[in-house]
């Protein structure tokens, strides 16, 4: 402690908040002043940053086995369990019935949908669905590279437009790679950025004249089922950024992307 308003124990308690971007504004200056004065706390700050970086980079991530995922998907599709165990034969029939019902409802939804321009909420919902689809696919990224100059030509060769990926990634939001994905009835470019252990999906859609995309210069930010979504338009292309990272972090990446 070197005479600044904040002492060492208080400063150390706030280091992580500062690193996570959630430090109370009133504490920002006292903490910065303390770190400038106190070499021990400044080193502690660096050690905490290194620890986070190493945890994010090197801590092994254990993915759920595919067999477990299939089991979970089948169980969730079946009716809620009752007190008495249901025989496997009936469970199988129930799964088939559920699948049939889902197909029927989907067909009806498509029938109602055809011929009507999707509203903004539909665009947002599709962006979230695409993000989830990429998260659940084991082989989601066809190009696993942080080099945008490798990704962009690959995307262009598979789409009927030239997608612009305005940000090549950095240490805070590394570019993990990309692929193509269906956005409603058209193919879109998908680039995936990382943020700690989270994935952030950027969708670039070439034809948006029949979609309720926000007008140029008027981006839309919203939250759907816990996912933060930002839509904007630039150069005639539609952009959708989706993730479960918090809104402030998504806004940081959107700013780098020009959205």
């Amino acid at each position: 402690m070197n005479g600044s308003a904040m002492d060492c124990s208080e400063a150390r308690l706030h280091l992580l908040d500062d690193q996570r971007g959630r430090l109370d504004v009133a504490l920002a200056d006292p903490l910065a002043a303390h770190l400038a004065d106190c070499a021990a706390c400044a080193r502690d700050d660096l050690a905490e940053r290194l620890l986070t970086e190493q945890l994010e980079r090197r801590l092994p991530q254990h993915a759920a086995p595919l067999a477990l995922k299939r089991r979970l998907a089948a169980e969730w599709a079946a009716p809620a369990p009752t007190a008495r165990p249901v025989p496997a034969r009936i469970r199988r029939a129930a799964v088939l019935a559920a699948v049939g019902l889902v197909a029927l409802v989907s067909a009806m939804a498509v029938a109602v949908w055809v011929g009507r321009p999707p509203a903004a909420d539909r665009v947002v919902a599709e962006a979230v669905t695409d993000h989830l689809r990429l998260l659940t696919r084991a082989d989601a990224l066809d190009v696993r590279s942080g080099d945008v100059h490798q990704l962009r030509p690959w995307l262009t060769s598979r789409l009927d437009f030239a997608p612009v990926i305005p940000f090549a990634g950095d240490a805070e939001f590394p570019l993990r790679g990309g692929t193509t994905e269906y956005f409603l009835d058209r193919r879109a470019a998908a680039a995936v950025y990382g943020r700690r252990l989270h994935a952030i999906t950027l969708l670039v859609v070439g034809r948006i004249d029949d979609l309720a995309w926000p007008a140029p210069g008027r981006p839309l930010t919203t939250n759907v089922r816990g996912f933060n979504v930002r839509l904007w338009q630039a150069g005639g292309l539609g952009y959708a950024l989706v993730s479960d990272v918090d809104g402030a972090e998504l806004a940081q990446l959107a700013a780098r992307l020009g959205g």
Binding site: C8, R12, L13, L15, L16, D17, R22, A39, A40, R43, D44, L46, A47, E48, L50, L51, T52, Q54, L55, E56, R58, L59, P60, Q61, H62, A63, A64, P65, L68, K69, R71, L72, A73, E75, W76, A77, P79, A80, P81, L132, L135, T136, R195, R196, L197, H198, N223, R225, G226, D244, V245, D246, E249
Partner: protein, 181 residues
């Protein structure tokens, strides 16, 4: 339209919930220490989530809700097996009083050096030596949960998450230094 019945609510969050299978399995793996128990834990978590889907409040963080169910399920299982996952470990001890500045500087420089040289195996082993509570808080923080969400998962006051997380990370750093020697 807001789903009315528990079954409708369950179906409405089903796809979203399944997208977190990897994340939940990862935490389960670090809680149980092995894949077979982690599979059982995740399966039981989803079964409970399906039954309790009506209690999920739309618009809140589904991932945090699932983490809470997983953690409570793990505590129930551990109790049944007469394991107490919440005691012991370095992080239950108050952090040491700061040493004199010169000693601290030398120690910290060595620590920074060893932090830079860590390998995955060291980090995993050190993390597994923390208490279950500390391990959970460190992992939930890495997952990007807010302090309020972490507090809801581990069942403590929001105000204590900050100090528990700081203590857990301090203990982790101490263990990592030991491995690097």
């Amino acid at each position: 339209m807001v789903p009315r019945s528990a079954a409708e609510r369950s179906a409405s969050i089903g796809q979203d919930a399944l997208a977190y299978a990897d994340t939940l399995f990862n935490l389960a793996r670090y809680l149980t220490g092995n894949s077979a128990d982690a599979e059982d834990l995740v399966q039981e978590t989803y079964a409970r989530a399906m039954r309790g889907a009506g209690q999920f409040e739309p618009g809140t963080n589904l991932k945090a809700w699932l983490f809470r169910i997983l953690r409570n399920t793990w505590l129930s299982l551990a109790r049944r097996r007469r394991i107490d996952p919440t005691v012991g470990g370095l992080d239950t001890v108050a952090p040491p009083v700061s040493p004199p500045a010169k000693v601290a500087a030398l120690r910290d420089d060595a620590e920074l050096d060893c932090l830079r040289k860590l390998v995955a195996e060291d980090i995993e082993r050190a993390l597994m030596r923390l208490t279950e509570d500390a391990r959970t808080i460190v992992l939930l923080d890495l997952e990007g949960l807010t302090e309020g969400e972490v507090a809801a998962v581990v069942g403590c006051a929001v105000g204590t998450v900050k100090s528990r997380l700081a203590r857990a990370r301090q203990a982790l750093r101490q263990l990592l230094q030991d491995y690097a020697r």
